[in-house]
Symmetry: C2
């Protein structure tokens, strides 16, 4: 659950010393979000990047893989691991075994057993492991959680519909086994859901649409419930053209709370819609990562991944027409 | 992990007082295994059974559901919940909320989020929750674990091939969403695997064969690895005619250890095969359940279920011909 953020650097003999960082996997999300967030945070100094399929891009040395990068930069203290999910887990385990602090892009592992092994290894090794559920740091999420804490919730409805052709053009990893399909964005909604609620959520049933040329679902309808029996419905679809929808609506005894734009925009009952705040999710992620390292803590919540695993485990699959993105 | 078993009853004012037990779900496994194990254990007194689809069978009162049974027998202290997995989880959560100790047939929950909620609720409520991985109590498992503890393992190979038509005739729940298909027996192998090893196991990749008229896999090939990198291969198949195979072979620096007959039959390198011991798995399960209640402890290991969830999450699905059982 997101906590109030505060800036905590690492204090060395000479004063504030930046954490020496490497990035593993330099795909779209790194170009779109990580680099600016790191550049804007004096707690981090980016030393190098690694990716077998990308060129150098940042003015720092670039390597074909994590091992080569770490061999050349033995002073790296922390990694942001942002590869595709299929290879992320083993890299994280290797990094933790080397005593490095790790920020894991979401989803933090390719499966639950691996995630548990990662958590155990980080705990045993005394390093910080951070599951970077970026949507939990969207501007509306923490105010929504605080407002809901005093209300009786009746039901929750999630609508997460976006155009995979726009957001993941040609990214085949998302439709291959292990790529999670529409749960790649959908897990963001589940990360917000599990941060908003004070009680656990479980999967009751799921209906998954799987295109003939995909291994993963392109759409999903989920029926979840909280421990106290409240219904939570979710509608995920990757074929949304026109306006995109990332909305969580919470019915309460005091009216409907709505989070739109993936958590950025909060509307409380009876209040005028406030303008969306500027996107500060990744800036907040890196502030939190620095904070965790300074405190010697980890933040590795697996609740969103467990719900995705359960949707695959329990879900009824229905064929859908082939779809190319 | 199985520990040495010892008999511990519950000591009341009048001496040894049996734990008052109810059974929820009275299908094949209850008739085949649970009733005899309970009858043979003086630590338990069976008070009643509940199942909407079965008739009374044991000389004790029978009810259409758990709520009716508990309303009529308010002195029940513990439940064995043996329904199909699709409905088991919520019943366990309800039972734990009533302050009852619970033995859960395997798999203990329909998903990982639910399993975690069950563990948390039992911990908060101070009741015993026991995930009854019966294969861990097969005669060869504990001796195998002890022998392996002193050896260097090189690789592990699991072959679990049985005839669904023989073992689950007409049981449609096994091929419906949430029924787990060939992982229903396969999870037994995974429960032994995770009990044999001192380190965690994760799923690297999986190939699943799914018949056109099934929602769940009828066969699976799994590539797992241990935290130290040892390969673990598994071959599960539900279409095995003729001899049935439930075998785990462990290659070590001191030769090959083989567990056959689902863990009942242990062969150590250079030793003559010992005759299979009589089947005592469910007797040992109930002894362990009584022991846990007496100690005020739970034993709710989710490692086998996590591996199954991961096989569904990561697995590549391949169509297979329709199959009726």
């Amino acid at each position: 659950m997101p906590r109030p953020l505060r800036y905590v650097g690492v204090i060395g003999r000479g004063g504030l010393v930046a954490i020496r960082l490497g990035i593993v996997g330099t795909g779209k999300i790194v170009r779109d979000q990580h680099l600016a967030a790191i550049a804007g945070n004096p707690a981090f100094a980016l030393l190098a990047t690694a990716d077998p399929a990308a060129a150098a891009m940042t003015g720092v040395p670039h390597y074909p893989d994590m091992a080569a990068m770490l061999a050349a930069h033995t002073d790296i203290q922390a990694l942001a691991i942002c590869t595709t999910p299929q290879v992320r887990g083993q890299l994280v385990l290797d990094a933790v075994a080397r005593g490095l602090h790790v920020l894991c892009e979401k989803p933090p592992a390719s499966g639950m057993a691996q995630a548990q092994a990662m958590a155990d290894a980080a705990h045993a090794g005394g390093v910080t492991l951070f599951a970077a559920w970026h949507s939990r740091f969207a501007a509306g999420v923490e105010p929504a959680r605080a407002w809901l804490a005093g209300r009786a919730i009746r039901s929750i409805s999630i609508t997460w519909r976006e155009d995979v052709c726009h957001w993941h053009p040609g990214q085949r990893w998302i439709d291959l086994a292990g790529g999670m399909g529409v749960f790649d964005p959908g897990i963001n909604a589940l990360s917000i859901l599990t941060a908003l609620l004070a009680e656990p959520v479980t999967m009751a049933s799921a209906s998954l649409e799987v295109p003939d040329n995909w291994q993963t679902p392109i759409a999903a309808r989920l029926a979840m419930r909280t421990a106290s029996g409240l219904p939570v419905a979710a509608d995920f679809d990757f074929r949304q053209q026109g306006p995109q929808t990332w909305r969580i609506a919470v019915e309460t005894d005091a009216g409907t709370l709505a989070l739109d734009l993936g958590g950025a925009h909060l509307t409380l009952p009876g209040q005028a819609a406030s303008p969306p705040a500027p996107d500060g999710e990744y800036a907040a992620l890196y502030a939190r990562f620095a904070d965790l390292i300074a405190r010697g803590e980890s933040d590795f919540d697996l609740a969103p991944l467990a719900l995705v695993a359960d949707a695959f485990l329990l879900g009824e699959r229905h064929p859908a027409p082939a779809f190319t993105h």
